[in-house]
């Protein structure tokens, strides 16, 4: 039986629930869980001030429901277990998580999976900016794990990411893979401008019909069918992502860049 957290807060001030993760909650009783510290703006409160809590945490499964757009840092630094969110949620979902899975049956805010180091985040709706990004000042963003967003996402996806896979099923904003160090980003819809600026290594794949204009510091290399694409797409299907039929056997134009920073990254545009 999962642990059920039903949000009943009525506030416009951010509620921050960092540290409320399945691995932390597993050994605790309901009474102890209710008294865990959360922040309401700058004020220290307890979890029970904002959530009705029922069920049992022992099986490492958490369900959150309600109007959670003002609730931030859900699943931050989680090590294992699963979180399911029924509804929309706030910023920093699963940031720095190391393992386990988070599923959002709704939309998520900015900074989901920022600096994550393992695990899976699957957002069935849209996501905000800086998916899998590095926080300001950090040397590295996402460094292992998988983030799948079925809908649209914002700017700076995979900012300075080091490893892992980010998949955006819909449209995306500007500066995808900005300063990217390694890893893979796939966008199935249309997107904005200046993708891959400053990227050193890694792969950005644009699968949609509406291809972005690349920076002049990217140089076309070849048109081909990469072997790894089938492996990646199979993984996506396995995770419940709907892969468009036309992408399954497509060819791609490969561009190398960013030439201002070594030119060892690659951008693939579906031909």
């Amino acid at each position: 039986m999962a642990l059920e957290l039903t949000y009943h807060g009525n506030t416009n001030i951010p509620v921050e629930i960092e540290g409320i993760t399945p691995d932390i909650l597993q050994p605790l009783s309901l009474a102890e869980i209710e008294q865990l510290r959360v922040f309401h703006g700058k004020d220290k409160c307890v979890l029970a001030d904002f959530f009705k809590i029922t069920g049992d945490a022992s099986d490492l499964e958490m369900h959150l429901s309600g109007q959670l757009t003002g609730v931030h840092w859900i699943g931050t630094k989680m090590q294992c277990g699963s979180i399911t969110i029924n509804g929309n949620c706030g910023r920093h979902l699963g940031s720095e998580m190391r393992g386990g899975s988070i599923t959002v049956n709704g939309d998520a805010g900015d900074w989901i999976g920022a600096e994550m180091k393992g695990g899976l985040i699957h957002v069935h709706g849209n996501a905000g900016h800086q998916v899998g990004a590095a926080y300001r000042g950090s040397e590295r963003g996402m460094n292992r794990g998988t983030i799948i967003v079925d809908g649209d996402a914002g700017n700076e996806i995979g900012l300075t990411m080091r490893r892992g896979l980010i998949v955006i099923g819909g449209n995306a904003g500007d500066l995808i893979g900005f300063n990217m160090l390694a890893g893979t980003i796939m966008v199935f819809g249309s997107s904005g401008i200046r993708h891959g600026a400053g990227m050193r290594r890694g792969t950005i794949v644009f699968m949609g019909d509406d291809q972005p204009q690349l920076l002049p510091s990217f140089r076309q290399a070849v048109k081909y069918q990469p072997e790894f694409m089938r492996v990646v797409l199979r993984k996506l299907v396995k995770n419940g992502f709907v892969v468009p039929e036309e992408t399954l056997n497509a060819s791609y134009n490969l561009y190398h860049g960013d030439m201002i920073d070594g030119g060892r990254g690659e951008i693939l545009l579906r031909a």
């Binding site: 926080y135 300001r136 000042g137 950090s138 040397e139």
Partner: protein, 562 residues
């Protein structure tokens, strides 16, 4: 008769300036000063039993980076450093704060006093940014403080030296210190920062290389400023960051710099970074030359040093040495900040991580320890980490343990890069510091070198800045958490908790000078500065708890030794 005296009764007192070495004594305090024991029949209003405790003067950090524009820029450019570290929680009496390698202002004050340090000096403030530094110092509670004023690349200084106008320099230097409400002139890579501004990757290689445009050499700048500062009678004449910091083979530059003092009193700072042998191929030839330099210090009374230890871990390098910041950025591939303070100085900031498996870093660590152990007279070597450049000031207790426990030191030596033992003599040094010597290098010595007559000792007339430790076999544990810290006679810290976060003083000098010089300086400002001459000096009323430290003018012969 009961009075408002506070009596610290029966502690093991360490007061090397007054020849007290662990004897059981009482300390009497009246208001903010230590006083003679009153006559018989007088009872203290409050008596705190110190039996079994070690009682020392409050610590004095004579070289750290705690305020001013570069410190604040380092805070801004390293949010990740702060985010990963603990936070300082707000209490009913204290502000919240952030840590990381460059803590926020209030946190710096709380952490220093929590460590038993009651006085700290920022080592490098451009006079043009002195106002900013004073603002930050006001928000740095619990400790007394001050700062050194960057002068080694000041255009007016270089011009007067090039024009051979020592009298003009003798007017300008005191005016500048008084205008900035600073404490001492600081020379950072004298002349080298100016060359850096003129050429891509520019710097000077020796102290006899000519600086562009002004046609002076670093040697002339060092000699000129040192002589002038001694003639003015500044309490701490010059504080010198030599040229070629961190470069293999730089020990010869350091020796030449010491020679350039011409026998005048001068302080060479973070000398560990200036004690390297070797040539271009760093890994092959990099080695310690601390022995040669320590021999020089041991035989020349006019030179004092602070060490500038590095300790392993992540920190932020911040310096007025612009080319050094660029060098570190290139070596480590980290982010970098550089600034040009018009007419006066430069700045470089870059994150750095010291690793014990790195031969260069491990050797730097060892050379720092060699310095403490090779200088015979503890009054002339001061503990510092150049915080945060070598490590945070919070590393001082660990350094104390390394100095007091040779077996611990050897254990740590075994964990660093194995080649280190072949490149330095640390493994052969068996010396262990006593508590009395630790007291000298952490408070009595730096206070004396800074010319602070009321700091660093527990005699009558001294400021009642007192730290009380519970003795422990592990000296790191002992020095990390003082039992009590008194500041200006007030119990500020008890059992690691801040009871009364009082505001400390700001020390500065206000030396006399020939007012005629102001006409020249004013013309100079109107010609070249972006700020009006009349807006440059910091008014007396700007500082909140200022204390002027007197200058004592010496004749030429008395300011020279050896």
């Amino acid at each position: 008769m009961t009075t408002s005296y506070l009596k610290l009764a029966g502690g093991y007192v360490y007061d090397p300036l007054n020849g007290v070495d662990g004897q059981v004594q009482d300390i009497w305090i009246l208001d903010d000063k230590i006083v003679e024991p009153p006559g018989p029949g007088v009872r203290a209003g409050r008596v705190i039993d110190m039996a079994g405790y070690v009682v020392m003067p409050g610590g004095v950090d004579m070289h750290c980076h705690i305020a001013g524009p570069k410190v604040n820029m380092a805070r801004k450019m390293r949010p990740e450093d702060k985010r990963r570290d603990t936070i300082v929680e707000r209490t009913l009496k204290t502000h919240s704060g952030t840590m990381g390698s460059v803590p926020s202002t209030f946190a710096i004050g709380y952490k220093y006093i929590g460590l038993g340090y009651t006085t700290a000096f920022d080592a490098a403030v451009p006079p043009l940014s002195a106002r900013h530094a004073h603002e930050e110092l006001e928000d740095t509670p619990c400790i007394d403080k001050g700062f050194f004023v960057l002068t080694g690349n000041n255009h007016f200084v270089m011009k007067t030296i090039a024009d051979e106008e020592p009298e003009k320099l003798k007017g300008f230097l005191p005016w500048l210190l008084g205008a900035a409400k600073g404490y001492a002139p600081k020379l950072v890579n004298p002349g080298g920062v100016e060359v850096w501004k003129h050429h891509p990757r520019g710097n000077v290689d020796t102290i006899d290389q000519t600086v562009d445009h002004y046609d002076v050499t670093p040697r002339q700048i060092i000699s000129g400023l040192t002589r002038t500062a001694n003639e003015i009678g500044l309490p701490h004449p010059v504080h010198i960051h030599c040229n070629n910091l961190g470069m293999p083979g730089n020990y010869s530059t350091t020796l030449n710099t010491m020679d350039a003092l011409d026998g005048h009193q001068g302080h060479i700072t973070h000398i560990q970074f200036h004690s390297y042998g070797g040539g271009e191929g760093v890994e092959e030839t990099f080695c310690s030359r601390a022995q040669e330099l320590a021999d020089y210090v041991n035989t020349h009374d006019n030179v004092t040093v602070d060490v500038g230890n590095i300790m392993f871990g992540e920190t932020t390098s911040m310096t007025g040495d612009g080319p050094l910041g660029y060098y570190l950025h290139n070596v480590y591939g980290t982010k970098w900040f550089s600034a040009d303070t018009e007419m006066e100085s430069g700045c470089g900031i870059a994150p750095i991580k010291y690793r014990n498996e790195s031969l260069v870093h491990a050797l730097q660590w060892a050379i720092g320890l060699e310095w403490y152990l090779l200088v015979h007279d503890p009054w002339r070597v001061v503990m510092s980490t150049d915080s945060p450049n070598g490590a945070s000031f919070l590393a001082y207790p660990q350094i104390i343990r390394l100095l007091m426990d040779s077996s611990y030191r050897n254990e740590i030596l075994k964990t660093v890069h194995p080649e280190v033992v072949n490149r330095c003599i640390l493994a052969d040094l068996k010396r262990e510091y006593t508590l009395n010597e630790i007291c000298i290098i952490t408070r009595a010595g730096p206070a004396k070198i800074l010319g602070l007559k009321n700091k660093g000792h527990l005699g009558p007339g001294a400021d009642a800045d007192i730290t009380v430790y519970l003795p422990h076999e592990n000296k790191q544990i002992m020095f990390e958490l003082p039992r009590y810290v008194f500041k200006s006679g007030v119990l500020v810290v008890e059992d690691s908790e801040i009871r009364e976060p009082l505001q400390g003083k700001t020390f500065h000098v206000d030396p006399d000078y020939d007012l005629e010089i102001e006409k020249d300086i004013s013309d100079w400002f109107e010609k070249y500065y972006s700020i009006k001459f009349r807006n440059y000096p910091i008014q007396d009323g700007y500082l909140h708890k200022p204390e002027v430290v007197d200058c004592v003018q010496n004749d030429e012969s008395s300011s020279k030794s050896n």
